[in-house]
Every structure is written in C-alpha cells, then in structure tokens.
Symmetry: none
Subunit: 129 residues, 4 copies
DNA sequence: GTGGTCTAGACCACG
DNA sequence: GTGGTCTAGACCACC
C-alpha cells in the first residue's frame, strides 16, 4: 500500500486520502477483511493531522467501503473492491465530462483539446521513465 | 457574445464569468475597444449576484484584459485577444495535467484514461447534434 | 424552529443536532428552500462548538436533506420533508426494536415491558403539564 | 444458563455480557452460590475476546453480584438475585425514559409512539412463534 | 493499542 | 456575512 498526497492539488487533503485508499483497494493492494493503516499511523506517514485522516476514514465507513472492528481498527468490506473500481471509473468520467464541457463552452475545437490531451499524456509518460 | 454559467460546476461562479469573457474575446466575439456588458446588465442576464460579476470584472481589469472608459464602462484592450487565446490554452493545459496526474497516482493505465476521454468526447459530440 | 440538546444523552451532540434539524423539517418548522440557521449562529444558540454544528450540517448535506447556496448558507431540499418524516419513523422503529429485543433476551414478559412503557409515558405527560 | 450476544448492537459487548449474566441470575437460571462459567470458557462459547469477559466479570465483582472462590472461579452472591431483578428493572426504565424523552423532543405524539411500540411488540411476538 | 467526539482557533474561498 | 478545510490537543470507550 502506497499513498501519495499532493499538497498543491486543488482537491482537499482528506479527499485525496479517500481517493488514494479507494485506489489501493481497487488495485488490490488491500484485500477484503484486511485492515487499513490506523488513523494515527497514516497521519504520521503522510505528515498530516490525525483528524484529517479520521475524517477520510469516517467517509469511507459511511460509504460502506470499510467497516470497524471495535477496538482493533478498520478493515475493507467484502464488496469494497467492486465499489472502489466503480468509484474510480465514475470519478474520472465526471472529471473528463467537466473538462470537455468547459472546452465546448469555450469554443475549443475537438482536435485542439485532443492534441493537448495527447501531448500531456506523452509528456507525463516521459517523466515517469 | 454568449455566456453560459453552469451552477452545478465546481468552478466558482466568478471564475466561470472570467473564463467565459476571456473565451469570448479569444474567439473574437468581442473585439479590441469594443465594450463588454455592464456589471448590472450581465448580472441580470446570468441571474447572478452583481458582486460576483463585479469581482470578475475587477480581475479582468487588473490582468489588463479590459480597460475602463471613464463613466461609460469597460472595453477590451488592444492586446486582449492574444492574451486570452494564450490564457485559454494555459487553462486547459493545467486542467489536463491535473487530470492525468491523478490518473497516474490512481494507477489507471494510459489506455484506460484515453478510452474514457475519447468516449466522452464522442458522447458530447453526439449531444450537440 | 426550536432545538434542544441534552448533554447527558448517550447520543453524541452532533447526532442530536442532525436529529433535531430533521425533526424541525419533518414537522414543517422549516420548509423547502427556506434556510436553516448558520453554523455560527446555531453554535452560539446551543452553546456548542461551531465545528460540531458544521459536522452535523455536512452529514445533512451528504444525505441530501439540505443543499448549499454558495456564500449564503444552507437551505432545505425540495424532498427534505418527505425524507425527514420517513427518517424519524425509521429512527424510532429501530430504537423500539432494540429495546424489545433486549427485553426478550432478558426474559422480561410482554406485560412487564408494556407496563413500564405506559408508566413512563404517563409520567412524562404529567411533567409537561 | 443461556447467553446471547448481538454484535450489531450499539451496546458494547462487555455491557451485553454484564446484562446477560445479570438477567440469568434474575430469572433464576443461576442460583446463589452456584458458579458462573470461567472467563476462558465463556469467551470461547461467545467467540469474543477473553479480556472483554474479564472486564464484565470485574464489574460484576465490584458490584457484589458475584464473589470469588479462591482458585476455583466466581459464584453468585446470596443477595444476587434480588439486586439483579432490581437492576434489570432500572435498566429498562432508563432506556424507556430516554426513548420517550427523545420522542417528545422530536414532537412525536403519544399515540404515534405507542402505535410503533405495540406494532413492534406484536411483530416480535410473531417471530418467536 | 484502536476509533470517536469535542473544543479552540486559524485560514481560505465565495457572494 | 457564509460554509469549508486543517491543525492541535484533550478526553472517552472499547478491546
């Protein structure tokens, strides 16, 4: 399990934690009934306030992605992976829809936006090498 | 000149106004030294708070995209179009970088994100027919 | 609109706030599209921390009971009343089921538990006179 | 002696154990000077943490409901039954008072709450058939 | 050790 | 003025 917080992102930290945990579950890094890091531990690792982590965990719990084992911590729900894969998909679909919607409203042509997209994709691919 | 506000968007209203005005200038809908709508008029047309419009106009002014004609209103600067075209480009590049950055952090593959992008592009194209 | 917090209750304060707001909506004290008290105001009235109120309000929002008017506050959703009436019902049904379940497990007879119930009902009725 | 733990209950497990033991004593399933199950045995039977059972037993001991037989275990005090019957009564009275108090604060009418109560009573009676 | 609640106070974005 | 985020630190219940 490997989490990454981008403090420069417009997304609030607690939402990034939610997403990253979901992604970890979606990719199978944490399996059903396995425990996720404790609030305090994750807070220490990410160097953020435990309350921020707790808030993210609370959201995951009310969503039914994880469940509490009283006194011992939080574990991934049996149907967690399926939901997380779906969520990830939905998340990016929404973002892309917004992006393209704005492009349309700004009269950017289809080919212009596609070019930008492909260029950025290629550039980031290069970065990761 | 044709503006469109999406109240459901995560972008704050005043930013949408800024963008839409810039886009109008970039596409040539308003030309240098032409006047843009008054604060009150635009607020009425878009059914939003005049303060919000005023804030957007203030930003455009400090950016030098528009200039004041004492007593009569605001007009597009001579170098407005060039700057707006550049801004629009920068705006979308940043958005796309964020999107792809998040996709990477979530372990979404290049082909998955591209598929989503192309599907949404095709879907919205269909909608506009 | 009239809210009452019982600091001696086993229910956490923020949940009491959620319930009381829901009850106010259920009984029609606040109508759809009407605004509910601001976070700071309610915190002052109830003499609790604004964060506690904010947490309750956040929950109501994610439940779709209220919606945000950016920069101005929170208002009751169109379908808020219906949902709140249903919620209130569900809440008490669950509590009663738990109570009677425990009574059964403790081998308390039906008549014994009914007697207690009616006595308490009568006693509290007397109190309110 | 027959104990039942509801892991979905909002009551903590150790309290459920205390209650169930008390109820067993109240109904005469275990008589004065008879021994109650050992910590390990009960933990095994209920499939819960021995620490949880130990905590419940400690509470029963400090309340004087049970006493230690050095080296052999715990037995019911001579005045155990009387105290347990009283405790059971007090427990349910408190619960009912809370329930009706909340119903009042939520503006639920006397007849509404009574109807719910009687319906649940009838439903659970049906279930046990 | 675990999560959960609550307080206090700072800062930001929005209208 | 509004809500939203984040930090810091205290206290509690549970296992």
């Amino acid at each position: 399990m490997f989490l990454e917080i981008d403090s420069g992102s417009p997304l609030p930290v607690y939402e990034q934690v939610i997403l990253q945990i979901k992604f970890s579950i979606a990719t199978g890094a944490v399996r059903p009934d396995e425990m996720i890091p404790s609030v305090r531990e994750l807070a220490r690792i990410l160097a953020i306030n435990p309350n921020t982590v707790a808030r993210a965990y609370r959201a995951l719990q009310t969503e039914g992605i994880v469940y509490t084992c009283r006194g011992t911590g939080l574990a991934v729900s049996p149907d967690g992976p399926a939901r997380c894969i779906e969520d990830r998909s939905q998340f990016f679909k929404k973002r892309i829809e917004q992006l393209i919607g704005e492009a349309n409203r700004s009269w950017l042509s289809e080919s212009e936006i596609r070019t930008m997209f492909e260029e950025t994709l290629a550039a980031q691919k290069e970065d990761r090498k």
